[in-house]
Amino acid sequence: MSAKEYRTVSAARGGLLTVSQVPGIAFGDRVEIRDSQGRKRNGQVIRSSSIEVLIQVFEGTDHLDLENTWVRFLDTPLEISLSPEILGRVFNGLGEPKDGRPPVVSRLHRSINANAFNPAARTYPKEFIQTGISTIDGLNSLVRGQKLPIFSASGLPHNRLAAQIVRQAKLPDEESHFSIVFAAMGVSYSDARFFQEEFASSGVLGNVVMFINMADDPPVERLTLPRMALTAAEYLAFDLDRHVLVVMTDITHYAEALREVATAKGDVPARKGYPGYLYSDLAEIYERSGRIKDRHGSITLVPVLSMPSDDITHPIPDLTGYITEGQIVLSRELHNQGVYPPVHISPSLSRLMKDGIGKDFTREDHPHVSNQLYALYARALETRNLASIIGADELSARDQRYLKFADAFEKRFVAQGEDEDRSIVETLNLAWELLSLLPTTALTRVTETEMAKYHRHAGSELQQPVQKEPPA
């Protein structure tokens, strides 16, 4: 560690500090800054040349003067100390304790900017995680190692949904529980408190590592916080063989902090003032989830983001959707109708679902049932639109059935209690109960065998099942 302090600050502007006449400082180096009163601030080198060094100061540059500011370069990248004792602790975006307890002492330090995983080292995630929530398990299944964000908006119950996932997530036939890494960026006091109480009341607190940056904490810390959290998650998953569930909230605050810093640096803006590298930057975070060959643990990532003005095409949800393996979208309309969880089915998606469900994983009919529910609900929504124009009474008998299906689907399948933990078999049986509201001829995505087995009226008065075998 270099003890030498420099007093050659030549500029301070928008959270950035320029120091002149310093030799060979490393790019990304950690910096300690002392002001005229001797108070310490933290920073990081974001540009380094043989003439001067540009430092990003986490706590901002307010009240710094050029004369009486001392800068010390620590000759180390941003690191986190790791040991099993991080479980049950609370840290800030720099990895410093936020729970009033002493720092974690360990010889193991890791840079929070890990090198990218070799794609050849990954294994394809395919173990179904049961969250007990029908809209996720049945229609957008989560698997171990997946990154599946919740797209929400202000006022919607995304925190309650995230907490329910944390409470209920398990493999259907395994007892082991997840270790949880919770990363909160720019959250309000009440949100942070909600999660802390949730973890405490469900008795998992000793199995949670929390990284918290409050709404009034320095925004720059929001940029390092998810990297701290993921470095901790990688340690838990790949050093300690644990299955780790990482919940991050709120990615929107993260991206706003990134924009703030980028603007101060003078980066060329791309869309809505966000820098052109927002995609790569978000990918550095999201892609740290997954499964690795010959490693027992896994990292499953559930980021929460609020869509500014409920707009899914806003750069933050848009770029996220291009990186993550699907998304769970919440709907204000359903929420206003009192449906919890208000999962908006049509735009929700899980890309890794196909390999984690079906025979050997959940149940053989699962892929088709899910597909069928989607197709029917899309059709039923069209019918509902039509009904709102010409009146429900004008609809044909068949269309009336679609309307009934849409209502039942929302009230019984989508809606469920906050403490209701439905097994995947319960979810699928419920799905068949709803599918049975329609005649077998309307069901083109499920097979005849499945209909014969699960459809309530298969082979009865409604219609002869269609043969799947080629005629002899």
Partner: protein, 596 residues
Amino acid sequence: MTKQGIIKDINGPIVTITLPGVANGEQVKIGELGLYGEVISLQGSEALVQIYESTEMVRPGEPVEGLSHPLSVELGPGLMGGIFDGVQRPLEKMFLQAGDQIPRGVSPDALDRESQWTFTPTESLEPNTQVSGGIQLGSVQETESVLHRILVPPDVSGELIEIAPEGDYSLDQTIARVRTADGEIRRLKLFHRWPVRQPRPYLHRDHSSEPLITGQRILDTFFPLLKGGKGAVPGPFGAGKTMVQHQVARWSNADIVIYVGCGERGNELVDVLDSFPKLKDPYTGRSLMERTLLVANTSNMPVVAREASIYVGITIAEYYRDQGHDVVMLADSTSRWAEALREVSGRLGQMPVEEGYPAYLASRLSAFYERAGRVETHDCGKGSVSLIGAVSPPGGDFSEPVTSHTKEIIQTFWALSKELADARHYPAIDWVDSFSADVSTAAIWWHEQVDRNWEKRRGQALSMLARDAELSRIVNLVGPEALSSAQRWILEGAALIKEGVLQQSALDPVDTFSSPEKQFLLLDTLLTIYDQGADLIELGVPVQELSDLPILAKLRRCKEVYDSDQLDQLREFRQQAIKIFESIRSEYAQRGEQTS
């Protein structure tokens, strides 16, 4: 003698160095870690370098070494079945040597030097003859399904002094010696290097005449792409771009498939790596991985290497083209490549034009796509590179710069739609927004190989879909009662086409691939039934009676009941369906007679 210099400034992946004698485009190794980079501009004594790896903890004052060659790839046996990063580092080997994460400053040989390959020299080739770039020296059976022709590198010509006899050779062994015009002796090996940003030469361009068959009905039947053609797959997230690309990689009748994962998800490449070895090429019956090569620069890997990755891919594609193969290259996604371009240009402080993209975006894009095409090679007959680029428009807005520039360059446009994807209509290719400029060329092939009615039937289906869209608008305004019987039958017919032909499940083992014969038979069957129904309706048969026929549900499913080699059964089934409609006709005709 290597050139030495030092680092002056580090700004993320852009580093300023001084290195006397360095050339633009030259590869350099910087810092104590030895990170690889490429010179992108020169200004006085300083050079700007883009680095393919993270520059964390690199310092000004550290040394720099010039490597005296531009970014190049190794071309030779051992490429097939491999996975490489954006600068052709072998990822499997790096995983075995260095573990889970990609270490910095490591650059193993792309091609394995230990492996032995059985080389068979070209019989007609005698010493003391003149050879030039592209002349076939011999061949190596690279995999069971790929015959790798060993060519004289494009930049070598002269008198062949010696050629090795048949036998096993490793890549470092000399297999031929050539005396060039200025008397220099060039030792040729089983592999050579070629700079990625320079298109490989060929004899002349040839026009494309044959469609690329992908086994996907909406692509082959409705929006065909020719071998050597240029196509784009734009779509918002979740619409299934990657799935379309995977399906093309799986089932197309190409000899070689190069799949470039450019700034996309790591797990998608793992999916290919896991599933392709187990899948069988429907044309050769061999494992798909034997003809596939992956270039992987996932979204979290350094952005500069992402920019390079598509050039690495297309250069390898051209190399196999020069051997007379039909190559398909898939780039997923060109938007991420464009963003890499934007990120670098932003760091250089270049003036942005649209949405932060540099002014040279359009010219770079078109120069890249222009490397596709069908050519007459020097010595191996005709070869082709078909290039299909995925585009990821922000917010699904096709008017953004990358999509709109791409649209001007390509011939085939497979537009993905959010609405179709939301209704789980896959592949979610919109038949209104999509287009193919090569339908009439493809028609010649279809008419010769499959059926003379292909173009007619295709046109009939498309116009029915267009009528359907029109009528659906009316239904949405005033309800279905406002339509005539004939119009309501059009809706039924369009639904038949949508479900029975356009929708195709990539996950269903039967439906995932349709031979051209099956594609046409399905389309023709459904349209025949539709035509019959239309006649019946004119005779006064109520639409409801026809719509309720269980045979319609069966028709929708026959795509997943009959495999491409069960077409006789499908024809039999078609006859049954036709009979049902004929019996209704005679029933009504009788009734008509009774009443009159």
